[in-house]
């Protein structure tokens, strides 16, 4: 098995209501996969199941062939399964530099140290500056997050994730809420992600999906209804049905 990350028959129901049904996925290293689906398709539940916020009713999650279904959210991150948030979760009075420093220190197991200083730690400074520069955040590295543009905050979400050196990266709508003028910067950042990294992107912006993803999975009503190349998605009748319902005469899903 060359799959780095696998989801097997994942199901979740709340009471009698099944919100995820029998979802299976497999991703090799370096994969660029997009997960799309209409509102209410169960994307958020899927993310929560994969990251460990929710426990599945049935099925397994595997990373590097190891079953991580029973692990909590924190341990999954430590194994290399890292996510970003759809609505940014950042510390408004800290700077991007501080965010990324904290993430690097945490990865190195030094974040709980009391007898060293957080600032002026030259050992991690180079790495932190490198990450910030890659994402074009070096200019705002010292500003409080509350004062930088939303697009930059989205990039910072990715920067934090990269600082954790993930094997699998879950991007939860990385361009959500970003003004269209700034979207290219996000795209650029996504193109520069380390090649060996497996990236699962959940996204609404179809332009972004088509440019970024090598493979697309469509989720509707908690089930995978399509899996294939981006170019094939628009033509699939079930996808059209799921997105457009009765408005079958609409031409494009974008």
């Amino acid at each position: 098995m060359s799959a780095l990350f696998q989801v097997e028959n994942l199901s979740k129901s709340f009471g009698g209501l099944a919100v995820s049904r029998d979802i299976s996925l497999s991703m090799p290293a370096g994969e660029r996969l997009a997960l799309i689906g209409p509102n209410g398709a169960g994307k958020t539940t899927f993310v929560n199941l994969v990251t460990g916020q929710l426990k599945p009713s049935a099925g397994r999650v595997l990373l590097n062939g190891q079953d991580i279904t029973q692990l909590g959210a924190v341990r999954r991150v430590r194994k290399g399964l890292v996510r970003t948030f759809q609505v940014t979760r950042l510390f408004s009075d800290l700077t991007p530099e501080e965010h990324v420093t904290l993430a690097v220190l945490q990865r190195e197991g030094k974040a709980t140290r009391i007898l060293s200083r957080f600032h002026g730690n030259s050992h991690v400074a180079d790495e932190v500056n490198g990450i910030l520069a890659t994402l074009g955040l070096h200019e705002v590295a010292r500003r409080k997050v509350g004062q930088i543009a939303y697009g930059q905050q989205r990039l910072l979400e990715i920067a934090i994730a990269l600082a954790l050196k993930p094997k699998v990266l879950l991007l939860d709508e990385p361009a959500a809420g970003v003004p269209s003028a700034d979207t290219p910067r996000i795209e650029q950042a996504l193109e520069r992600l380390p090649p060996s990294l497996a990236v699962l992107m959940i996204e609404h912006d179809m332009d972004l999906v088509f440019r970024f993803a090598k493979r697309v999975v469509v989720l509707a009503a908690g089930e995978i209804i399509f899996e294939g190349l981006p170019s094939e998605v628009a033509a699939d009748p079930r996808v059209r049905e799921a997105y457009l319902g009765n408005y079958a005469n609409a031409r494009s899903i974008a």
Partner: protein, 333 residues
């Protein structure tokens, strides 16, 4: 990229240095204020010592409330644990003051561990209520165990030997005050290091968004528990200092009232800066002392009015007011 990184590190130095200078200046200022208190109010040293002991308690609350976002109305449980441990040790023949402080710190830390382990199971209002329940249980236990604690009559007869074998704890309270002041400064410096450490930053992160911290792969519970232990040690030292300087430990040192007063002092001064804790304690207790001497019968109204006025004028606490005044120009952005 190299150039950028280089620029970054170059820029980092003055900033870290300015931060360091600011803290050094702050600590020098505290030392100067403490010394000024010693020279200006030589007749009020017992009051000043009490302020120092309570300041340690308020600092310990700031660690939990201001840096971790865990609300507590039961911190006196940790203060009292330190006070009783030091008191009981003293009555049983351990009379060296530094040892007593260490015993107080240890007892406070253990109590902090216990309290944290219970309180961290809940959030918000429920957490607050747990803290109240815990301090009430401590109070009840201290009342019950009167064979060891003296119960409501207080644990009396603490004969502390002279500090370093030289300086007596006497009527004028010079030794107690200077020892307390030195202790406060040391603790303050240590806490400045703690909050400036990666651990301190992690706590600040947890306060704002524990989910983000978990998504970074850090466990929240052990970090907060660790802070509870540190906080307990600080509060315990405050309790031990109070026990040494008063030579009596009363049930008031494990009371809800003390916890609530201390929290009020902290909020009055401002959360999450450590300076606010000191400012709040000094202002509250100083104000209380002055108005209660001025009118022993109806001073409570004036203290109440002060609190209301502070909320209306400076909702972020007095230290935020000072920041606002000092930075009034640069704040337009």
């Amino acid at each position: 990229m190299h150039i950028i990184a280089h620029e970054g590190t170059v820029a980092a130095r003055p900033k870290a240095r300015s931060r360091w200078w600011r803290d050094a200046a702050g600590i020098a200022l505290i030392a100067a204020c403490g010394a000024a208190g010693f020279w200006l109010f030589p007749d009020n040293l017992a009051l000043l010592t009490r302020i120092v002991a309570v300041a340690l308690l308020v600092l310990s609350i700031d660690l939990i409330v201001g840096y971790c976002g865990v609300a507590t109305l039961g911190q006196a449980a940790l203060f009292g644990a330190g006070a009783y441990a030091a008191g009981i040790a003293c009555v049983n023949g351990v009379t060296e003051p530094m040892t007593l402080i260490a015993i107080g710190a240890a007892a406070g830390a253990v109590a902090g561990l216990l309290m944290g382990a219970i309180m961290l199971r809940a959030h918000g209002l429920a957490q607050l209520v747990l803290s109240i329940a815990i301090v009430q249980l401590f109070h009840e236990a201290a009342n019950k165990a009167s064979a060891y604690t003296g119960g409501s009559d207080g644990l009396a007869g603490l004969m502390v030997s002279p500090l370093f074998g030289l300086f007596e704890f006497d009527l004028w309270g010079r030794t107690a005050y200077l020892m307390g002041l030195a202790l406060l400064l040391l603790v303050f410096i240590a806490l400045k290091f703690v909050v400036a450490s990666p651990f301190g930053m992690l706590c600040r992160g947890i306060k704002q968004d524990p989910i983000r911290i978990r998504a970074m792969g850090a466990f929240v519970f052990p970090v907060l528990l660790k802070m509870f232990v540190i906080s307990g040690a600080v509060a315990g030292m405050g309790g031990a200092l109070a026990a040494i300087s008063t030579q009596v430990v009363g049930l008031d040192s494990v009371s809800f009232e003390l916890s609530a007063n201390a929290l009020v002092m902290l909020v009055l001064g401002g959360l999450g800066t450590l300076y606010g804790a000191l400012v709040g304690t000094v202002i509250f207790m100083g104000f209380e002392h002055v108005v209660s001497a001025f009118n022993p019968f109806h001073w409570m109204t004036m203290v109440g009015a002060l609190l209301i006025a502070v909320v209306l004028a400076a909702p972020g606490g007095l230290s935020s007011l000072m920041e606002k005044v000092s930075a009034s120009k640069g704040r337009s952005s």
